[in-house]
Symmetry: C2
Subunit: 195 residues, 2 copies
DNA sequence: CGAGGCCTTGACCGCGGTCAATGCCCGTGG
DNA sequence: CCACGGGCATTGACCGCGGTCAAGGCCTCG
């Protein structure tokens, strides 16, 4: 097995854990997969584009971001073994003000959305899989809403540290700050208080 | 047609707008529907229960709420013509700390989740419908996260006024305050500033 | 070695929090 | 029918979290 095949295997196995699928479905999906390796700061998708690709961060990290009043805001981080999808564009077909950028050197699996959705006709387990992914993202977002609504800056930072120390270690502070909804200056102070 | 049948018709028509379904599917769904009328402050679902019912507010309003440090927090409002679902419990089967309460006299359609999910086997358009509902809720939550993360209290209140003046007119201030993530006292001040 | 990006730190201030007093509305019982 | 009590909203006093602005330190890269 070459390196790509190993990655593919891992990916398919990961999906099987979320929602079981038949060998044929896995095979069909496999035929759509593209694997790329990206260096830091690569733009995967420009802002103001349409989302037509699902990405899976095999390892590394990426973020969804946008500009609000010219400030760069991080909306979402995807770490190793997670999907990164601009749902609001994928569902509606509209273009979105959000972009996707690599923040750590990464190996990324891409799946083109149209062919993938086509597969749903023959492979309802793939449709189930997709819906399971969406449900998970939804729950994650609900949880995050709750976090941000009723926890102060310090608590949110500690929460992030707790759940994803990986982000905090390697990713520039400024990206983390806007993700937590606080200024980079405040985050710096919080961090120094903790030592 | 009696009153219940009129309500059913409206409901099915509303769903057809979201995701088309066959006459048979509509009929199957219709057989699961229960319609009730509730007065203000009725508890539809207790906190610490499992979610096994989808509710649709035909007219009126309800909220999802929970207790954080003994404070009553409103997580979500459903107004006329919208669903109210405790997704985190429905998806996982776990019980949830959240409850559902009527906040305006309401006519509510209930659908028991297990029989509904059973229908998916025969009626894939119902499964599609359900997934479309979830996607919509997800997008709404994403949007709300953005709102709350980067708008101050006044902007959030104005946003709500704009999108749902109905909430603001009729529902006690304290419920609205926690929904917006601010104190009832501050919301009162904001409101008086606007006049 | 100089420049630019990123993080830290100090000074300052405003938004929105809590606590408490008061006002207003409404349902209930004398 | 009025008096009282309870729930909700308003208002004032006060304060702390987290924001901005600006200066300074530290790395990295050309």
């Amino acid at each position: 097995m070459n390196e790509f095949e190993v990655i593919e295997e891992h990916f398919i196995a990961h999906l099987q854990n979320i929602q079981e699928m038949s060998a044929e479905s896995a095979e069909a999906l496999r035929s759509l997969i593209k694997i790329h390796s990206y260096s830091n700061k690569t733009t995967l998708q420009e802002v103001e584009s349409r989302c037509q690709t699902l990405y899976f961060i095999y390892n590394g990290a990426a973020r969804i971001f946008y500009y609000k009043d010219d400030k760069d805001i991080t909306e979402y981080f995807a770490l190793s073994n997670s999907f990164i999808i601009r749902a609001e564009s994928l569902f509606t077909g509209n273009s979105t003000s959000k972009g996707i950028e690599i923040v750590l050197p990464s190996i990324v699996i891409s799946i083109s959305s149209h062919p993938f959705f086509q597969l749903f006709e023959q492979h309802s387990d793939l449709e189930r899989l997709f819906n399971a992914l969406i449900r998970n993202s939804y729950l994650e977002t609900l949880h995050r809403l709750e976090q941000i609504q009723f926890h102060n800056a310090r608590e949110r930072y500690l929460g992030l540290l707790n759940s994803s120390a990986e982000i905090v270690q390697n990713i520039p502070l400024k990206y983390i700050a806007s993700y937590l909804g606080i200024s980079q200056v405040s985050l710096s102070r919080i961090r120094s208080d903790l030592k």
